[in-house]
């Protein structure tokens, strides 16, 4: 399995506990080491003043530019942000990744619903699931209809809460196949 690199690319301060929880889940889900990575500053250029959101497509492009250092090993690069993300056709997205590509981004902005009621643990779990989900796309997985699979489509935050933190057996099989190929 190729290594995974993660970085906080939000505008507020990073929450080390939140990110550590996410990293643990990502390592379990993909069975590979997650490394920290320090990109140069947050991608402010991705901000769309009309929509008052960040374009996730622009962030993915930026990650590809600033992510893999010249001559570095291949890997998957995940940016984590506190900014609200969108793709042009949708009102918002929790995150985005290139299918079988190197870049992925995930945001906490839409995962905050009810966190004030249930505590930061809820946010940590949601973020871990969405991080695994977006990286799953980067590893070539599509949405999965198996109940509780982390690769299930999440259109709303309730969908995120309902699914589990790991890929189902079928998706894991697909990951192993790709690794072998």
């Amino acid at each position: 399995m190729v290594p995974i690199f993660t970085a906080w690319i939000g505008q507020g301060p990073a929450d080390p506990a939140l990110l550590a929880h996410m990293v643990r889940h990502v390592e379990v889900a993909f069975g590979t080491k997650v490394h920290p990575w320090s990109p140069p500053g947050p991608p402010r250029h991705a901000y769309d003043p009309r929509r008052r959101q960040h374009a996730s497509g622009a962030i993915l492009k930026w990650i590809l530019e600033v992510g893999p250092a010249p001559g570095a090993r291949a890997g998957k690069f995940l940016g984590v942000t506190d900014q609200d993300l969108f793709i042009p056709i949708l009102t918002y997205v929790f995150g985005e990744a290139q299918l079988s590509g190197a870049a992925a981004v995930v945001s906490t902005a839409r995962l905050l619903e009810d966190v004030d009621l249930f505590g930061p643990r809820l946010l940590a779990e949601r973020l871990a699931k969405e991080a695994v989900h977006e990286l799953g796309h980067a590893f070539g997985l599509r949405h999965c209809a198996t109940p509780r699979c982390v690769m299930g489509r999440s259109s709303g935050v309730r969908d995120v809460d309902e699914k589990g933190p790991v890929p189902c057996e079928e998706c894991r099989g697909r990951l192993e196949q790709q690794e072998g190929a």
Partner: protein
């Protein structure tokens, strides 16, 4: 996921929309195609089959509503979703009128988009299941190459199936084009003689002497021009079935010859001395009223009884209009196969016209009309103008004709009465009203048999 079979075509002049929407849907496992403008989209719809079309309303050139209209003509079952930046009631109403599935206001709520796509997919799965069931049902409606769900034809199939197993002579009666030879072939294929030959002779097409030699064969030198010995159709059909079409048209001399063969079960070639035993099942057919011909002394009574062992009457197509959609489906499928062309069916407008036509040429005429349509059609669906059907004055009111309900009702009742030969019971059944109600309407509108009806009652 069932999404793998679902093909979505995204049509938008903005590349970023095509890319982001296509990418998002691709992760759901859908197959995604895209087109930057209407004309390209229509080309893609002509060339390939799509399940869902997501089309932007405002595009330079061919706009979304035009794409919707054309796409629905090309593929009526395509689910078209209109994408628009500003939702106005007018555009929504216009889109729905043209057959759009729904519309989405840009940017979409991901939950709304996701749910809409899932709803379309599950509906299309139901439609597919329905088609499979219909196909299975069609097998029930089938007797070899004949399809029908009308009760009259169903009992005819039953009779033909039973008769096929016997060796008895069958007399098929029916108007020209109603499928007499098709039925004869079906009977042959269902019979224990199916492995044997099926020979067909059109008795009306040949002169007496030619038909004589065609049926019985001749020895060399039997007549001028008989340069070699030739077997007749009776001999050629040995062990199989001989179909004598237009048997009501043969001359008195041949009627006698044929009677002898049927009685003795042996033939003599012209100019030959030896009798040849024949083992042939006869299926004869005619569109004439043979009983009347017997009464008038034009057809031998003894031959009539020899032929009329098991009479089978094929009702004309206008008396079993419920079969038209079934026949259209079967013919279009066969034409598509023969022409190696993708054909999904006929448009609703074309089907209405096919249902309204009186079909004097029966199933053959229907097939010819559809064949023309299949050749002329530019898309996958045969449109009304492709059929080249003549406009009929005084035909049932077409949509858009301005007439009162009573006027439409009067015209329809008149047409049904004319079709049944003023048979009130049958007409009442077709119209779904009781006879008294029909009598009252006839009285009220002063309808009479002279209104163009044929002589009734001869069919039974």
């Amino acid at each position: 996921m069932s999404n793998e079979r679902t093909r979505i075509l995204v049509v938008d002049d903005e590349e970023i929309v095509r890319e982001s929407l296509g990418g998002w849907l691709e992760k759901d496992g859908y197959f995604i195609g895209s087109a930057p403008e209407g004309a390209t989209a229509l080309e893609k719809i002509k060339a390939e089959r799509w399940s869902i079309l997501l089309v932007d309303l405002k595009m330079p050139g061919v706009d979304g509503l035009q794409v919707l209209e054309e796409a629905k003509k090309l593929q009526p079952d395509l689910a078209v979703v209109i994408m628009t930046a500003y939702a106005t009631v007018d555009t929504a109403v216009a889109a729905m009128k043209l057959g759009a599935y729904d519309y989405l206001v840009k940017p979409f709520d991901p939950e709304e988009l996701s749910m809409m796509m899932q709803k379309i997919v599950s509906q299309q799965v139901l439609v597919r299941e329905n088609a499979v069931l219909r196909q299975a049902l069609r097998k029930e409606y089938r007797f070899r190459d004949l399809v029908s769900k009308s009760p009259a034809m169903q009992s005819l199939f039953e009779l033909a199936r039973t008769a096929a197993r016997s060796n008895s002579t069958i007399l098929v009666l029916g108007e020209s084009g109603s499928g007499k030879e098709v039925l004869a072939r079906a009977i042959h294929q269902e019979s224990p003689r199916a492995e044997g030959p099926f020979m067909a002779v059109s008795c009306a097409a040949l002169t007496e002497s030619l038909l004589e030699s065609e049926l019985f064969g001749h020895e060399k030198g039997a007549f001028t021009g008989a340069v070699a010995r030739r077997k007749g159709k009776f001999e050629a059909a040995q062990g199989g079935t001989l179909f004598l079409d237009e048997v009501g048209d043969i001359t008195p001399k041949l009627q006698l010859d044929l009677l002898r063969v049927l009685e003795e079960r042996r033939v003599h070639r012209l100019g030959g001395n030896d009798a040849i035993d024949i083992d042939v099942r006869i299926v004869a057919a005619t569109n004439r009223d043979l009983r009347k011909a017997v009464q008038e002394g034009k057809f031998r009574e003894d031959l009539f009884y020899r032929l009329n062992v098991i009479p089978v009457l094929i009702p004309p197509l206008r008396q079993r209009r419920e079969d038209i959609p079934l026949l259209v489906e079967a013919f279009v499928e066969r034409l598509a196969y023969e022409m190696k062309k993708r054909l999904d069916g006929v448009s609703a407008e074309a089907m209405n016209a096919l249902m309204a036509h009186d079909w004097p040429g029966n199933v053959r005429e229907l097939r010819n009309v559809l064949e023309r349509g299949a050749v002329v059609a530019t898309g996958h669906v045969i449109q009304l103008p492709d059929l080249g059907m003549p406009e009929r004055p005084g035909a049932a009111a077409r949509p858009g004709t301005l007439a009162s309900l009573e006027e439409v009702e009067r015209r329809h009742v008149t047409a049904v009465l004319a079709n049944t030969g003023f048979n009130v019971s049958q007409s009442a059944r077709i119209l779904g009203i009781d006879r008294v109600t029909l009598y009252n309407k006839i009285k009220k509108w002063g309808l009479s048999r002279e209104g163009g009806g044929e002589d009734g009652g001869k069919d039974e």
